[in-house]
């Protein structure tokens, strides 16, 4: 379907969330992003079971606290000062009467910050699962996507039709329906549990495994489309030249087509990365305690829904923007003069 034919346009128009952002603001995003990630990584490390074992073995039993249950984990950033600011400003606002919108906003913001400080540990745990789901599924998806794209372009009638059928089917149905299919219809969760190992690092609990399977299947189809259009943009003369020096089809694909095609596919791939970070939130619907579900939990405990979803939205934004920035860096690092993602060589 046409979402297939138009990936070229898509790759250009949607690839970079940050491409249009002015340089100064991009630097600001990078700094905030670095702080965010430092905090996030430190939180994950602090409660990481594996690191705990190592630290204990090295004689620091209290350095890493993996034994603390998720629900009672403490934040490092105190909410108190923000709360105090909120109360103080609220006092002033009350004195001035109800008219002052600006002050009310200030109160709201200070209150938001105080609330964020208290719920941040829970969200950090959710974010770990979000990142895990995204990265694992994206990489597994890539492993499937490369042969799918090659089959589509060079596979002959049968293979290319099969590859096309797969991508059309996956891209033509909602991701949530696919997750439901795996979770409810195929009951993959019980299958995973029956096989065992689930819940032991690095293998997550059964539901998260099912989510990984679903996201992998789904993102393979999208990644294959991006790679396919990149492969097709490589000039046929180079394939002839490769054959003329004596490379066979496999060698040509491996040494000439893929090194160029995969580079050209990076903007599309970034797009898919960002997409997957956002859509990993759907794993919440099959009970995976990732970032969105963590936020929901906080929401139903505190009834402060608006603030919870604003804060979790900011979490996702931070993840997505830092990813887009980092992928831009990556693209620049592996770029080759004359070979760029606008699809034009020379």
């Amino acid at each position: 379907m046409t979402d297939g034919n138009t990936t070229d346009d898509l790759a250009d128009e949607r690839a970079s969330l940050v491409e249009q952002v002015p340089e100064r603001r991009r630097i600001a995003i990078a700094i905030v992003g670095a702080v965010f990630w430092t905090w996030l990584l430190a939180r994950w490390a602090y409660h990481n079971a594996l690191l705990d074992v190592i630290a204990t073995a090295l004689g620091f039993p209290d350095l890493i606290r993996s034994e603390v249950p998720v629900l009672v984990r403490q934040g490092w950033i105190p909410g108190g000062p923000f709360r105090a600011v909120a109360d103080a400003v609220a006092g002033v606002a009350n004195a001035l009467g109800p008219a002052d919108v600006l002050l009310e906003w200030l109160v709201w913001l200070a209150d938001l910050a105080a609330f964020a400080a208290t719920i941040a540990p829970k969200l950090a745990d959710g974010a770990f699962i979000t990142v895990y789901l995204t990265v694992v599924s994206l990489l597994l998806g890539l492993v499937i996507a490369v042969p799918l794209a090659v089959a589509r372009v060079y596979g002959g009638r049968v293979l290319s039709t099969l590859s096309l059928g797969y991508t059309e089917l996956i891209r033509g149905t909602p991701l949530l329906a696919q997750l439901f299919f795996l979770w409810y219809a195929l009951q993959l969760g019980s299958v995973a549990r029956a096989i065992g190992f689930t819940g032991e690092p690095p293998i997550p609990q059964a539901a998260a495994m099912v989510a990984v399977v679903g996201f992998t299947i789904n993102s393979a189809a999208y990644q294959a489309e991006y790679i396919r259009s990149a492969l097709q943009s490589i000039d046929a003369g180079q394939l002839t030249a490769a054959r003329a020096v004596g490379l066979d089809m496999r060698g040509t694909i491996r040494h000439v087509v893929l090194p160029q095609g995969l580079r050209l596919a990076i903007p599309g791939w970034t797009n898919e990365f960002v997409y997957l970070i956002k859509y990993s939130s759907l794993a919440a619907f099959i009970t995976v305690p990732e970032l969105f579900r963590a936020a929901e939990g906080v929401g139903s405990d505190t009834f402060r829904y608006t603030k919870v979803y604003v804060i979790v939205g900011l979490f996702y934004l931070a993840l997505v923007l830092t990813t887009a920035l980092a992928m831009g860096r990556f693209e620049a690092a592996v770029s080759i003069p004359g070979l760029d993602s606008s699809g034009n060589q020379e």
């Binding site: 490589i234 000039d235 003369g237 180079q238 002839t240 030249a241 490769a242 054959r243 003329a244 020096v245 004596g246 490379l247 066979d248 060698g251 040494h255 000439v256 090194p259 160029q260 580079r263 080759i336 003069p337 004359g338 070979l339 060589q345 020379e346």
Partner: protein
């Protein structure tokens, strides 16, 4: 020794017949220039020799062996080809373009391949540009990388398909100089080119192809001065004005 022999080659695409019984023989060290109007079948003939295109009927022998008894990839190691549009691998440096075939087809180890590649780049006057990517080279430089890429495989025969037709006039000279050197060193070369200066100075044989048939074939001087066919005369006549 007869290196290349074509006997009654026929080739048709879909329903269009392109080659009608072409026969020719080249001795080792011969330089043959193939000319003819657009659509005559020159490229097709060249591509049949390294089996980028398969013939319908006839025989092609390389050093006495039918090329159809050879594995096509082995054949292509023994026959180098240079293209009109260079067709350099865009993701590899000049050096990388040359080493790819050496490492992946001949199975040479990396250091040896690099050494050999650099020697051949030096031979075409591009020692300095080894680290440049195709997009950073001029057309003439790109084409010389293309020649080095083919030469590095140590071929018995080189095919050139209009190697200077995509070049700006001032860049043609460098490429022709490399081809002249090669001819002088005794490389067997089958060249489609309309550079008549090169044909006069370097070719042993000039062949006029039209409508998939050889119209006339012989020493370049004879075809220029004393063509036997009206078709040859009028075709070559276009070029002599510029000499």
């Amino acid at each position: 020794m007869t290196l290349l022999e074509l006997e009654d080659i026929e080739k048709a695409y879909e329903n269009e017949e392109v080659l009608h019984g072409v026969s020719l023989g080249m001795e080792q060290g011969d330089v043959e220039v193939l000319v003819g109007p657009s659509g005559a079948g020159k490229s097709t003939l060249l591509r049949c020799v390294n089996r980028l295109t398969e013939i319908d009927a006839g025989t092609i022998r390389l050093a006495g062996e039918s090329i159809h008894d050879l594995d096509s990839n082995d054949l292509r190691q023994r026959v180098g080809m240079v293209f009109q549009d260079f067709n350099l691998f865009a993701h590899r440096t000049a050096r990388g373009n040359v080493t790819l075939g050496l490492e992946e087809v001949l199975g040479m180890d990396h250091d040896e391949a690099v050494e050999r590649a650099e020697a051949h780049l030096d031979q075409v006057g591009l020692a300095e540009q080894a680290d440049s990517y195709p997009a950073e080279l001029s057309g003439g430089q790109q084409q010389r990388v293309g020649i080095a890429r083919a030469l590095a495989m140590d071929p018995e025969l080189m095919l050139f398909d209009e190697p200077t037709s995509s070049l700006d006039p001032e860049l043609i000279g460098d490429v022709l100089a490399v081809m002249n050197d090669l001819a002088a060193e005794g490389m067997t070369m089958l060249c489609v080119t309309h550079e008549m200066g090169f044909a006069r100075s370097a070719a042993d044989t000039l062949t006029m192809l039209d409508g998939g048939r050889i119209v006339e074939r012989g020493p370049p001087e004879r075809l220029f001065e004393n063509p036997q066919h009206e078709r040859t005369e009028s075709f070559l006549g276009q070029f002599t004005d510029f000499e």
